[in-house]
Symmetry: C2
Subunit: 140 residues, 2 copies
Amino acid sequence: MSDVGASNLTERCRLAGLRITGPRKAILKVLEDSSDHPDVEELHRRVKRVHPGINIATVYRTLNVLSEHDLIERHSFDDGRTRYETIPEEHHDHFIDIDTGEVVEFVSEEIEAMQEEIARRHGFEIVSHRLDIFVRRRDP
Amino acid sequence: MSDVGASNLTERCRLAGLRITGPRKAILKVLEDSSDHPDVEELHRRVKRVHPGINIATVYRTLNVLSEHDLIERHSFDDGRTRYETIPEEHHDHFIDIDTGEVVEFVSEEIEAMQEEIARRHGFEIVSHRLDIFVRRRDP
DNA sequence: CTCTAGTTGCGAATGATTTGCAACTGGCAT
DNA sequence: ATGCCAGTTGCAAATCATTCGCAACTAGAG
Ligand SMILES: [Mn+2]
Ligand SMILES: [Mn+2]
Ligand SMILES: [Zn+2]
Ligand SMILES: [Zn+2]
């Protein structure tokens, strides 16, 4: 039970030639189960619940490996620690509520298209980008 | 001689109630004279040329004060160190050439407008944002 | 089952940035 | 001009997130 949706991330790891060890299984599961943007400490905390002995250095190393293989995404949001999320179905950018720290995702085909357009005008080819919009709830 | 263009930044500091000390004069001058996006070490190097005794902790502290008063802008660009630039006449975003590290500025009214639009749709008010586009020169 | 390169735990090392503290010094008030 | 004192500085030590060295494991190919 609970094995619904054969772990895509684990399969992708295998394809990337990564060993599927106990600590990694735990980390992958936590990543898949997370729908927010946790930092390393928080991921470590979550992973310990299923794999108590895990060391935070292992979490760091595994996240680096996963991110080098483009299996997860790394974010900054300017609060000093790096945050992570699984690669989404569809690319999105983020609103960060500066009052609550809440992160809200959004998609804008128009903005994406305009980026391509302006990059082309400058003779550049886009490799990646990040659009972080720091916001505050509208006074109603 | 060379005192052309009475230092706007210094005046803004005075208005903000900051003391204009020797070390600060030097830092402000370097910031005004820089048209790139130097990091703290580089700024420290440049400041030492006009004020040899300055300590890097002072540079850090001053940059923090200036940035808290919105007199300069802080950037990340994902290379581990924080970079700075004076607040520009007109807001702009950045291309970062991942091969050379070169930073190129651009302005897109359209993208700015779309951000406002989408933020409004989500019930947010934009406080600030950052759009960093990591690029590579087009194969000609 | 064996063997080995990949992985892990642990503690020490890094590197950027911050901080405690005593010694200075702008610049407003006499 | 002179004095005063909160803001500032230099220096060294402390933080904080992240990385690394290394010896002990172990996944998984053959
Ligand atoms: Mn996201
Ligand atoms: Mn710029
Ligand atoms: Zn985007
Ligand atoms: Zn912008």
